[in-house]
C-alpha cells in the first residue's frame, strides 16, 4: 500500500513548523528563563506581605467572584511568602529540568493566583508573556537536554532526545509578535509621534537617577525625536531581522543595547531576559552543532549513545 502524496506546501509547512529536531536551543532557553523568573519572584518576596497578605493592602481582581472569591481572601503574611517560595522553587525545577511539566504547571497556577490577588494592579505585559512562555516550555520537551531528567534517564547531563520544533517556533513567533505589536502601534499612537514621550518618560515614575540626570542635560528636543525614531525603527525591524541568518547577530546586539538602555534609564529590567531568549531564532540544529564543536563531550547521538 503506497503512502498518498502530500501537497508540497503542506510538506514545507510541516518541515518548518513540525519537524523533529535537537532540543539544545530550547534547553538553553529553559535554563535561562527558569533562573531569570526565579530571580524575578525573589525580588518580589520582600514586599509580598505588603501587597498580597493581610499585613498590607490587598485588592483582588474584581472579576474574581463566587466560590473563587474565597481562594482570594488575603492570606497571612507567612502564607503569602510561602506561596512565593514554592513558586521560586518550581521555577528552579524548570531551570534544572526536574519534573519540568509539573513544575511549570505549578509556577503558572501560582503566578495566576498572585496576579489575580495583587499583581493585576501592576498590569504589565511581561506578567502575561512569561507565564505564556512557561506553558509552551511545559509542552516542549525542553528538559530533553542539559537536565536532571536526562541525567536520571540516560546517566548523563548531556544526553538528549529529539523534540518537535513547533514549540521553539511558537516562542520565536511570539517574541517577534511582541516587537511587531509594539512597533506597529507606535506608527499611529499620538504620544509616539514626537520625542516628548521619551523626554517625559525619563522624569516620570520609571525614571532612574541616570534617567533624571540625562533629562537635566537639557538636550534639544531633536535628540529625543531622533531617539523615538530609532526606537520605532528598532521595534519595526526586529521581528524581521531576527530571522535573517546573515543579519541575526546585528539584531541581537541591537536588542541587547535597547533593553539594557531601558533598564538603565527607566528601571524596566524585566525584558532583559529576551536577550538570551533570542537563541530560539537560530535553527536548533545549528545550536546543537555549535555546542558540539565547543564541547566535544556532548553526546553525538540522542538517547545517551555515542
Amino acid at each position: 500500500m503506497t503512502t498518498p502524496a502530500r501537497h508540497p506546501r503542506l510538506e514545507r509547512f510541516d518541515a518548518w513548523w513540525l519537524r523533529d529536531t535537537t532540543p539544545h536551543a530550547l534547553a538553553l532557553l529553559r535554563i535561562g528563563l527558569g533562573l531569570f523568573l526565579a530571580l524575578l519572584w525573589l525580588t518580589r518576596l520582600p514586599y509580598i506581605a505588603a501587597s498580597a497578605s493581610r499585613a498590607g493592602i490587598v485588592l483582588p481582581h474584581p472579576d474574581v467572584g463566587g466560590v473563587l472569591a474565597i481562594l482570594f481572601l488575603p492570606p497571612p503574611a507567612w502564607a503569602a511568602q510561602l506561596v512565593v517560595a514554592v513558586l521560586v522553587a518550581s521555577l528552579l525545577c524548570v531551570a534544572a529540568g526536574m519534573g519540568m511539566r509539573v513544575a511549570a504547571a505549578v509556577a503558572v497556577l501560582l503566578w495566576m493566583y498572585e496576579w489575580l490577588l495583587s499583581f493585576h494592579l501592576f498590569n504589565t505585559s511581561f506578567d502575561r508573556l512569561f507565564p505564556f512562555l512557561l506553558v509552551v516550555l511545559a509542552c516542549s520537551g525542553a528538559d530533553r537536554a542539559f537536565s536532571i531528567r536526562m541525567k536520571m534517564r540516560h546517566g548523563s547531563w548531556f544526553a538528549w532526545e529529539p523534540v518537535s520544533i513547533v514549540w521553539q517556533r511558537i516562542i520565536a513567533v511570539q517574541i517577534a509578535a511582541v516587537y511587531l505589536g509594539v512597533g506597529w502601534q507606535k506608527l499611529w499612537l499620538p504620544d509616539w509621534q514626537s520625542g516628548e514621550v521619551l523626554a517625559w518618560g525619563l522624569v516620570g515614575r520609571w525614571g532612574t537617577p541616570l534617567g533624571f540626570w540625562l533629562a537635566r542635560q537639557n538636550l534639544p528636543m531633536a535628540v529625543y525625536d531622533a531617539l523615538v525614531f530609532h526606537v520605532k525603527l528598532f521595534e519595526f525591524a526586529m521581528p524581521v531581522g531576527l530571522w535573517i541568518p546573515g543579519w541575526r547577530w546585528i539584531f541581537f546586539v541591537w536588542g541587547a543595547l535597547f533593553h539594557t538602555l531601558i533598564a538603565l534609564l527607566l528601571g524596566i529590567w524585566w525584558f532583559l531576559v529576551l536577550i538570551p531568549a533570542y537563541v530560539v531564532f537560530f535553527p536548533p540544529e545549528e545550536v546543537s552543532d555549535w555546542l558540539e564543536r565547543r564541547w566535544k563531550f556532548l553526546q553525538k547521538e540522542p538517547g545517551g549513545k555515542r
Binding site: F13, D14, W17, L18, R44, P46, Y47, A50, S51, A55, G56, I57, V58, L59, H61, P62, H120, L121, F122, N123, T124, S125, F126, R128, L129, F132, S164, V166, R169, I170, V173, Q174, A177, V178, L180, G181, V182, W184, Q185, W188, L189, P190, D191, W192, E196, V197, W200, G201, L202, V203, G204, R205, W206, G207, F212, A215, R216, L266, G267, I268
Partner: protein, 162 residues
Amino acid sequence: MQHARRIGLRAIVLAYLAVTLLGLRAAMTHRVPQLPFLHAAVFFSYAMAAPYQGDTWWNGALAAEGRHPDGTWEAIELTPYFPMGNGEANARMFLRSLKPAGRRFAAAVDIGLQLQAREAEQGRTYDRVRVLWEEWPRSPEGFAALRREPYFTLRRVIADVE
C-alpha cells in the same frame, strides 16, 4: 498515531497564529472580538504585545490622611504599603486594571478601610481616613520635586471612610 499527532500540532499552530494575528490587529485598532473564549485569548495576546502605549507630562499618586479621635489630622505614610520599586508602586496606585472607573472609586474606599485597620494594628488609631489623588507636573529635579503647593494641578479626596 503519528498522523493524529501531526494533525493536532497543525491545529495548535493555526489556532495560535489566528489568535496572534487578531491580537496584533487589536494592538493596531484597539478592537477585540467579543466572542467569549476568543475575546479572552485575543486580549491576552494583545496585552503581551502592547506595553508603554503613552505617557503624560504629569505625575500622579495616592495620598492618605487620618483623623485622630482628638480631631487632629495627620498624613499617613503610604510607603510601607507600597514598598516595591518606585515605578511599580506608582503604577499600582493608578488602579488601571480596575474598569470601569467606578471600580477605582470602590477600590479607594477599600484602601481607606484597609489603611485604617493596618494603622490601628500598629497603634495609630484614626476614626476617619481620607484617601486623596494628587497630580503635579513632572520635573527633572526628581519624581516628587513638585509634589507640593502651589504646584498641584489636582488634589482631591476620592474616598472618605470612618
